[in-house]
């Protein structure tokens, strides 16, 4: 292993436990409570924070967050690239800390997508707000159908099957059933027949947008969380083991010139992150990969180099991604993922939180002695314009 820069570490985490706040809490409430608990987890307090990172509370987001939290930050970053914003925030926080501009960075997320009845996946007009919308919104492309087009093309080019994609849902549900918060989430969101699933369960579930079935699609929950990232001299005195940020990569991709939708922006962000960390995909104990849909994970596993492009379907067969098969590795989304635990619209922060739990030895689907994890976020829409953020994390 090459010499790694250990400039910044995750020292505090909190995942807001409720997935249905029944209209009684706002996103800001969820952020503030999560922030206070993550700071307590680290053994720090509000006055230690000098950098804030948040993907949105309207027009003057940074100002709103600073005032609501009662902070006087010297670094403010409100980058919003969709669900991978928190990977971008972790990358930026590490750089700000390494440059001496901040010592304690606070990343926050809160959403009431469930209780405000946001039809994220099936609203019928994609996400909106892009320059190309005026040429696309007439077609009724749902967000799920956007990802489904990636799956169809992957099947067409590489012979990938629905049964292979279902492996991702099955492994993730297996992990969710070990996580009491995930089980409660599925109960609160009125999932039917909450149990471990089989390949047959997934491919026999209702088709939402061909070829994606219901059990290949993430839930829409309320929720949020917070992550505290600190400089080494702070991290050494925190309550928890530091989880070092070893490398980061950021990228975007969009359909100009007919892009290949069987690969994602992870092709660009992955090598930057792994290269900076001086490690490779096959060394990862844990893969926290944004599972908006089964195809998102399959595509990104290939793009990050876990297997060659097009071989992901065969590679995931046989339960390889389960937490109890560490010799085959990596363990995928050990908290239960967006598919079966928590997806309030922008899941990226939970990838950092569960990767940190694993490297601290605190997961409900713990991989014994886990040392290295990749947390990879995908934002926007995989089949058209999207962002990718890769964060490589390591334990001492």
């Amino acid at each position: 292993m090459s010499i790694q820069q250990r400039d910044a570490a995750i020292v505090g985490i909190h995942e807001f436990p409720s997935r249905d706040v029944e209209g009684e809490l706002s996103p800001l409430h969820i952020k503030a409570e999560s922030a206070s608990k993550a700071l307590a987890d680290a053994g720090l307090t509000w006055s230690d924070v000098d950098g804030i990172y948040d993907a949105g509370e309207g027009g003057a987001s940074g100002l709103t967050i600073a005032e609501y939290f009662g902070l006087s930050p010297t670094v403010i970053d409100t980058t919003n690239v969709g669900g991978s914003s928190y990977q971008f925030h972790a990358a930026h926080a590490r750089r700000a800390i390494a440059a001496g501009k901040a010592r304690v960075a606070l990343l926050t997320y809160g959403s009431t997508a469930h209780s405000s009845v946001s039809r994220i996946g099936t609203g019928g007009r994609g996400m909106g707000g892009y320059p190309a919308d005026n040429l696309e919104s007439f077609a009724g492309l749902t967000l799920i159908a956007n990802y489904a087009m990636c799956a169809h093309r992957h099947m067409f080019e590489f012979g990938t099957t629905s049964e292979q994609l279902a492996e991702i849902s099955v492994a993730t549900r297996c992990h969710a059933m070990r996580n009491p918060e995930a089980v409660r989430a599925m109960e609160d969101l009125e999932f039917l027949d909450i149990r471990e699933t089989t390949i047959d369960d997934v491919v026999n579930s209702r088709m939402i947008a061909d070829p994606l079935h219901l059990l290949e699609c993430c839930m829409i929950s309320d929720g949020g969380g917070a992550v505290v990232i600190a400089a080494p001299e702070v991290a050494r005195d925190c309550r928890r083991k530091p989880v070092w940020i070893l490398g980061t990569g950021e990228a975007t991709k969009y359909p100009l010139g007919g892009a290949d939708i069987t690969s994602s922006a992870a092709v660009q962000s992955g090598p930057i992150g792994f290269g900076e960390a001086g490690v490779s995909a096959d060394e990862m104990d844990i893969a926290m990969i944004y599972d908006s849909f089964s195809i998102t994970v399959l595509t990104i596993l290939e793009d990050l180099g876990f297997c060659p492009k097009g071989e992901g379907g065969r590679w995931v067969e046989g339960g390889r991604l389960r937490f109890d098969r560490p010799s085959e590795g990596p363990a995928l989304n050990t908290d239960g993922g967006g598919l079966s635990s928590n997806h309030p619209g922008m899941r990226g922060i939970f990838l950092l939180i569960e990767a940190a739990r694993q490297l601290r030895g605190e997961s409900t689907a713990q991989v014994e002695g886990a040392k290295l994890a990749v947390a990879h976020g995908n934002g926007g829409m995989l089949g058209s314009r999207h962002s990718a953020g890769t964060v490589i994390l390591g334990a001492d």
């Binding site: 039809r119 019928g124 077609a139 009724g140 087009m149 067409f156 947008a209 007919g258």
Partner: protein, 137 residues
């Protein structure tokens, strides 16, 4: 219940107005850079292949192939929910641009649409303008 309609574009929007103007006489238009020949789609003011801003409009033949597609079976949109299942597709025009559209004129989308399928444009009139949809060749 009032009949809801397909969501229509803003035909006056500055980047795409020439594209929509072309649909009034059923021309499917795209931009190419006069300096470096890069095809630009969606339309804009500048070339992304070079530093030029001299883009010219060209008519596409209306023929292309389905790059990928999905069959939407669940939508909460007031118009589209009445039309499930329907096919959305990325269509690669022979001249290079990739358009998002619907494949229409098929009885059974599950068996009759596939990646690589040749299609041609079919216009759905809306006043003077028209929406470009595609039908199997």
């Amino acid at each position: 219940m009032a009949e809801s309609t397909r969501p229509l574009p803003n035909f006056e929007e500055s980047d795409t107005a020439p594209f929509w103007e072309g649909t009034t006489d059923r021309r499917l238009r795209f931009q190419r850079c006069s300096d470096c020949d890069t095809v630009i789609f969606h339309p804009r003011r500048h070339c992304v292949g070079c530093l030029g801003c001299d883009l010219t409009w060209h008519d596409a033949s209306g023929r292309g192939t389905v790059y990928s597609y999905s069959i939407v079976r669940q939508s909460y949109h007031p118009f589209f929910r009445q039309h499930v299942p329907y096919v959305v597709a990325w269509v690669d025009l022979d001249e290079g641009p990739r358009l998002l559209s619907n494949v229409v004129g098929i009885e059974d989308p599950s068996s009759q649409v596939h990646c690589g399928m040749p299609v041609r444009v079919e216009w759905e009139p809306h006043g003077d303008h028209a929406i470009p949809l595609f039908r199997p060749l």
